[in-house]
Point group: C2
Chain length 220, copies 2
DNA sequence: TAAATATTTTAGACAAATCTAAAAATTATT
DNA sequence: AATAATTTTTAGATTTGTCTAAAATATTTA
């Protein structure tokens, strides 16, 4: 069993290391967690003894495969709770993270399994981030243009072309933002414009030109 | 803001004092929380400084009105989470307490308000205990005989006459147990027998004699 | 490459929540 | 009422996670 502090360090190191690929510096961890570098060194020592990290003095830290497994399970819990808060309790997209930071440390495997089932095994959280399954497997999210989707496809907006102020203004008006869910209702053959529904609420038509500037991840 | 430990002590003292009526001994707290009496003394000192308890050396502890308010809010959170776990996640009646012990310490007022709304403002938890409302008010639960209810009444079993083994065996067979929900579908004029539905599942008839030996709290 | 700067670690301190052992106060027993 | 038993408190120690200040190491710059 890990303490809440240990879990937070592990999760941070996993994230900062780009899912375990890169080394992480003591300073970057301390900046992210708003603790002092000396506290980070202490915790790194502890987690290294527990074989969750690799560490060589002055050389940065790597997460071990055991550490990775644990970190992924914490992230899984975090994202499942986010879905619950957003979909069931109707929290705003930007309110869920803070609360999920607390809920993610509740440790009860059955609870998470049942929550997962209750939410119908969601693949992504309200921010569009993928939810690892029980075995820690993460569906690689492939980012594609909204214009590439077909009828009945559902996706989450992961990015928009932010070079054009007019486009941003327009997207804001029709309430398309990063993290929102879009369902394609129709693709008009004539001009490849799309009839879409945004966040299960407003249905609008958008031109192919606009759809090309919205990057999404498919979720069905 | 209270720590998890402080919250647990406060809740325990509130419960052991019979909702703030009686004095609580150091030993009884230590027995309940499985800590040493010396640890209890330390915590009592701390909570007394915070004006949540009254305490005179060697004379036992009383909860203050501020302490009572906080304790009731913790109990509210606990019981609302129990309803969520039981009704939505389909946990068993006897599994919810342990998990709610963790969830009750999540501190976010909006979360509890939204959870309350989502659960449709339940008045009792799966054990039949009343859920305080946002203002800390608790509907006094009046324990009556099941035989006193009328058509469409809904209740929670709070007690059964356990002097008769045959009765217990029968109740077990038709799955009536403490904490289960019973809806009265019909009252037969002829012999005052009842047609009831148990836990939204099995519908059965029971005699007036049986209904007189089941104590319940009305919840509608 | 030597000096300056930045990063990381060590050493020692502190607060919170617990513990053990012993002292003080209360309650029960003879 | 004196003694025994129990309860409660105090005193001092321990663990966890943090901190500051200083030392050690690494990196950058002139």
């Amino acid at each position: 069993m890990l303490s809440i502090s240990e879990e937070n360090y592990l999760k941070t190191i996993f994230n900062l290391s780009d899912s375990g690929k890169k080394q992480v510096s003591t300073n970057s961890i301390s900046k992210f967690l708003k603790t002092k570098p000396s506290s980070v060194t202490d915790m790194i020592k502890k987690l290294t003894v527990k074989k969750l990290l690799y560490h060589k003095k002055y050389k940065g830290t790597n997460i071990s495969s055991n550490g990775k497994k644990l970190a992924i399970q914490i992230i899984r819990k975090h994202r499942l709770w986010e879905v619950f808060l957003y979909e069931k309790l109707k929290f705003k997209w930007d309110e869920v993270h803070k609360i999920a930071e607390e809920l993610e440390h509740i440790s009860n495997e059955k609870l998470i399994d049942k929550l997962d089932k209750y939410l119908k095994y969601p693949k992504i959280d309200p921010h569009g981030d993928p939810i690892p399954n029980k075995d820690g497997k993460i569906d690689i999210k492939q980012i594609i243009k909204l214009s590439n989707l077909s009828i009945k496809d559902v996706c989450i907006v992961s990015n928009v072309n932010d070079e054009d102020g007019n486009l941003l203004e327009y997207l804001n008006k029709i309430k398309i933002h990063i993290g929102c869910k879009i369902k394609v209702f129709d693709v008009i053959d004539f001009d490849k414009s799309l009839e879409i529904e945004i966040d299960s609420r407003n249905k609008v038509f958008i031109s192919n030109r606009v759809a090309e500037n919205i990057l999404v991840t498919k979720i069905n």
